[in-house]
């Protein structure tokens, strides 16, 4: 099974720990995990995980977008914390046509609702929507619950 973890702009502090955690947890579940990010988010991952303990494979978000095709991955997990991140997630979803989870978060409740609505009205992806910015724990707790449903 192959999973793609999609990261957006790294300005949201919760994104990097959640990206590392998602890559780790999905790897533990047997997924062959690739993290797709822009260069800025990728550099943060490289420095956070210099030995590649948590992120085994990393690709550029735009190069990956150009090359992926339907069927390349079994699961898409995306961090959605900006308008652009929602559009990237939705586009990846429409190309891959696989099971997908959007981790929607922001410090602003209106943005959480707006981005969740963008994803829900354009995809059949599962959505976790929480207020979170510096503290990734609200996302982690919901993500862990979701992963248990995948294991059932």
């Amino acid at each position: 099974m192959k999973a793609l973890v999609l990261l957006g702009c790294p300005e949201a502090p919760s994104q990097t720990p959640i990206g590392l955690y998602a890559s780790y947890k999905l790897g533990q579940m047997g997924y062959d995990v690739t993290v797709s990010s822009n260069p800025a988010a990728g550099k943060i991952l490289d420095i956070s995980d210099p030995e590649g303990v948590y992120v085994k494979k990393r690709v550029d978000i735009e190069k990956c977008l150009d090359e992926i095709e339907e069927g390349d991955y079994d699961l898409l997990v995306g961090c959605v914390h900006k308008d652009a991140a929602a559009t990237f997630f939705i586009t990846y979803y429409h190309i891959l046509k696989c099971k997908a989870l959007a981790l929607v978060f922001s410090r602003d409740a209106e943005e959480v609702a707006e981005f969740a609505d963008m994803v829900e009205s354009s995809t059949d992806a599962d959505v976790i929507a929480v207020r979170a910015f510096h503290n990734p724990n609200p996302i982690k707790v919901r993500f862990d619950k979701y992963l248990k449903t995948l294991e059932e």
């Binding site: 957006g8 735009e62 900006k82 308008d83 652009a84 559009t87 990237f88 429409h94 354009s122």
Partner: protein
Amino acid sequence: MSFCLETYLQQNDDYEILVQRSGVKQCYKLIEENSKELIHVNPGDKVLGARLIGLPPIPVGINEDEGAILITYTKPCHGTAAIKIPISPEEIESVRAMDIGDG
């Protein structure tokens, strides 16, 4: 024509930016307001070789008299821009053929 849109934008000055660092819905509105003809494509469809990023259905404007199309361009950290770029008559026909409708 198949090309890298980012490289094109870096190496040419014959395009117009209608808005940049914006939200995707605002860009769609501008494209709709500034286009004489509109078609729609799915997210990920390749227009002039570049995969369009956005919410379905994605509007693409065609101004045949100007020899230009209007599309969105999204970067993770910089949001979405609406841009007008030159296009040949043959390429206009290939873009028209991609229309999925606006439903």
